[in-house]
Symmetry: C2
Subunit: 172 residues, 2 copies
C-alpha cells in the first residue's frame, strides 16, 4: 500500500509557510494502519528490542503499537512536568525559545536495546533530545523510526549517528 | 497477571492530596503490556469496531494498540488547536476553569461502531466530552474502556449511559 497517499497535506499549519503532514487519515484507515504497523514491526523484528520509546503525543500511538507487536515494553518521553516520578531531563531548541523533555529514570535499564519512535522527523531537535535521555540511562539505541521524514529539513543530518528508518519521505 | 501490582501510586501528584496512578511501570513491563493488550482486545473482539478513539496523550497508547489488535482505524481526540483540519469541539469543566477537546469532522462516518479509550477514569469530564464529540459525528458508541477506574470519584455515574469496561479499579 502507498501510505503517502493516506497522508493529508495542510498548508500554513501551525503557521504560514509550513505544510503540515497530517497522519490522521492514515491512522483512521484500518488497512493503512495495519500496513504501517506491519512494515514498521518487520524492520525491527529479530533485533530483540527491549523498550520502544515514544515521544508525546503522536509518537505514543506508534510506540504502543510497535511495543505490542515486538513484545517489548513501552516508555514515554514527555514534556516537562507530565511524568510523576524521578526524571532525567533535556533542554532543546525550538524555533522560538526552548523546551524540555523528560524520561523516568527507572524506565530503561543499562544495556537494554531501545527503539525510538515518532511520527515525523523535521529538524530533529526533539528526537535528538530524546536520544540523549536514553543514552543518559545507558540504553543501547538500536534504531530511530519515523512514519515520515521531511528530507528538506536537517533532521537526517542531525541524527546521523543513529540507524534511521521511515516509511515515507518528502523531498520538498 | 495482576496488573494492579504494576501500577505505581504517587502521592501528592500533580497536587497535594491526589494519589496519581502511574501506568508507566506497567507499560514498561513487556509481559504486563501484552497481558493488558490481550485482555482489552478480547473484551471487544467480535463487536466489529470500526474506530478506536484515543484521548490525548496516554489514551493514544492504548488506542493505537487496540486499533491494531482489532483491525480498526484509530482516531485522535486532542486539546484545542492541535488538530490541523476541520474540527468539532466541546468545552468541559476542569477543577479550576475549562478546557476544550476537538475531533476531526471527517474522522468518523455516521453509523460507524466506535470504542473510546483512555488510561484512567476519574471524574469523567474528559471522556464525557469525547463521547459527545463522537455522537455529534453520529458514531455509534459500543464501549468506553479504561485501564483504570477510580471508583471513589463520580466518573462511572457520569458515564452511566455507556458500556464501561476497565481492567483495574480502586475503591479508595
Amino acid at each position: 500500500m502507498n501510505l503517502k497517499k493516506k497522508i493529508r497535506n495542510i498548508p500554513d499549519f501551525p503557521q504560514k509557510g509550513i505544510i503540515f503532514r497530517d497522519i490522521a487519515p492514515l491512522l483512521e484507515d484500518k488497512e493503512a494502519l495495519q500496513d504501517m504497523a506491519r512494515k514498521l514491526a518487520e524492520k525491527f523484528r529479530g533485533q530483540k528490542i527491549d523498550k520502544v520509546v515514544g515521544i508525546d503525543a503522536r509518537g505514543f500511538i506508534l510506540a504502543g503499537i510497535l511495543a505490542d507487536r515486538l513484545g517489548a515494553g513501552m516508555v514515554m518521553v514527555r514534556k516537562k512536568g507530565k511524568l510523576p516520578s524521578k526524571t532525567e531531563s533535556e533542554e532543546f531548541d525550538l524555533e522560538y525559545g526552548k523546551a524540555v523533555l523528560e524520561i523516568h529514570k527507572d524506565s530503561i535499564q543499562p544495556g537494554e536495546k531501545v527503539l525510538l519512535v515518532d511520527d515525523v522527523l523535521a529538524t530533529g531537535g526533539t528526537m535528538a533530545a530524546a536520544a540523549k535521555l536514553v543514552e543518559r540511562l545507558k540504553g543501547k539505541i538500536i534504531g530511530v523510526a519515523f512514519l515520515i521524514i521531511l528530507d528538506y529539513l536537517p533532521g537526517r543530518e542531525r541524527l546521523k549517528d543513529y540507524n534511521l528508518f521511515s516509511l515515507v519521505s518528502y523531498q520538498k
